[in-house]
Symmetry: C2
Subunit: 248 residues, 2 copies
DNA sequence: TCGCGCGCTTGATCTGGGTCAAAGTTAACC
DNA sequence: GGTTAACTTTGACCCAGATCAAGCGCGCGA
């Protein structure tokens, strides 16, 4: 299962791209050294499963680069994505043996891993880590609740618009692109993955994207490259007016 | 807005019904004394709004008794419940000014409150509180993700069965009822509140409850009193087979 | 005791999105 | 450079659940 996995030469925490957003964000230099002792890197290829639901997890860690998804599957095969893991997001749960979800890399992914036991011990002695993890978990909970509204009460068009606006927004903040006028980004998900995220079928996703294109809300180049000429228009289509603190 | 609110005479933490499940669960006696200094009780009547979405929160706290809900509302009035707060559940978010959701008491509720600032300060000096809060938040996140599957992929009948089995399960653990054979409990929610939880209309909720009754999955006395003759049958109807660790 | 209202049930009809089917696109791989 | 397979689009049709509309029944206040 892991034969195609390569181990990259480790790099220094101080120059890590997610140094100031991951679990380690609040750590002082000495705390970082302690973390550095127990960390290692793992690479996953696009499509590869990082962790299977039910498996016991012997590590926790952060996504350094790439995108992974958290999904739940019913016996009959219906699946629902329950989390989208971007760089700096944390994987695994301290104090729990197994994973409740499948974690799958949707692009090539580099993860910064810590063996679970040592990490848990370190966490007890290092409040900065627990504090940051609490903060991140609360943010994830807010995001999950936002998605409950999307899943429970929005129609297909609003769902697509919601997903696009979220991807656009995080892309703008991650890449710090100027955002003068039009937003431009690449969809990191297939139509099927979008459907799994939104509780739709891939056909409906395709139709609604076509409709948004036809109505001029978005512009498409190829299947994945999206231009949003007017972000507030997209927000309107998503059903949440207030322009989301995008330009705060 | 708060004129009908009464302040109950405070009682001792040591004999508090949620002593061992709330944020304070891990606190030692001395830590509890520190908490006791900044705590106060508030009572809310059924139907009363505890916190309005967007309001700045000057306190955080635990539900001591009764049931409250967390809901999100869109401009056009569509609402989605995003959390169900039972005794011992925590309300409010340290490190954030305003509430993102409406918090509404669905039954009479007693809350154990802490002024936000002092609580945050105390939390910094008391890892036991932060640890417990992290644990509770991770559990809430798991519950939220479970609901995302329900909202995104289950049909109306499965949704109702899922809700019933969750209520049945927590009722069994809270009240420590023997659970020999049939489960019996009262629905703490109106049909409309169930609909808001499940992303359905109240008519569909009503129809599906009638259908489950007709099919012998549940038995109803009045509108609220439910008997589940065969719990595993209910689980099957909910779409998740594995009998949920109910008898662990 | 009556009547009013709220919460609930049930029926009739409509429709958004699912399902099934087929064909178009793109990119990877001989 | 052509074949293939994965991904996507589009069309036709159908059904689960929404919507609209009546009525029921219990509890509360006068």
């Amino acid at each position: 299962m892991l034969q195609d996995e390569k181990v990259k030469s480790p790099h220094e925490c101080e120059e890590c791209p997610i140094r100031h957003r991951a679990v380690c964000a609040r750590c002082e230099t000495d705390e970082l050294e302690r973390l550095e002792e127990i960390k290692y890197y793992r690479n996953f290829e696009a499509g590869q499963t990082v962790i299977w639901s039910g498996d016991k997890m012997d590590f926790v860690g952060s996504v350094v680069s790439g995108i992974a998804t958290l999904t739940q599957t019913m016996e009959d095969g219906r699946t629902q994505m329950v989390g989208l893991l971007l760089p700096s997001d944390f994987v695994g749960r301290p104090g729990r043996e197994g994973s409740a979800y499948d974690v799958v890399a949707t692009t090539d992914v580099v993860m910064c891993c810590f063996r679970k036991k040592p990490f848990e011990q370190l966490m007890e002695r290092t409040p900065h880590i627990a504090q940051r993890l609490l903060e991140m978990t609360l943010d994830e909970l807010d995001a999950a609740r936002e998605w409950m509204l999307v899943l429970g009460r929005k129609n297909a068009r609003e769902k697509i618009a919601s997903l696009l606006s979220i991807i656009a927004r995080r892309d703008a903040t991650l890449n710090l692109r100027p955002t003068e006028g039009a937003l431009v980004f690449d969809l990191p998900l297939t139509r099927e993955a979008m459907a799994d995220y939104l509780g739709l079928t891939l056909e409906t996703v395709s139709r609604q994207i076509s409709a948004l294109k036809r109505d001029g809300v978005i512009h498409l180049e190829g299947k994945r490259h999206v231009t949003v000429p007017d972000f507030s228009r997209l927000m309107e289509e998503a059903g949440d007016d207030s322009d989301g603190g995008m330009f705060a």
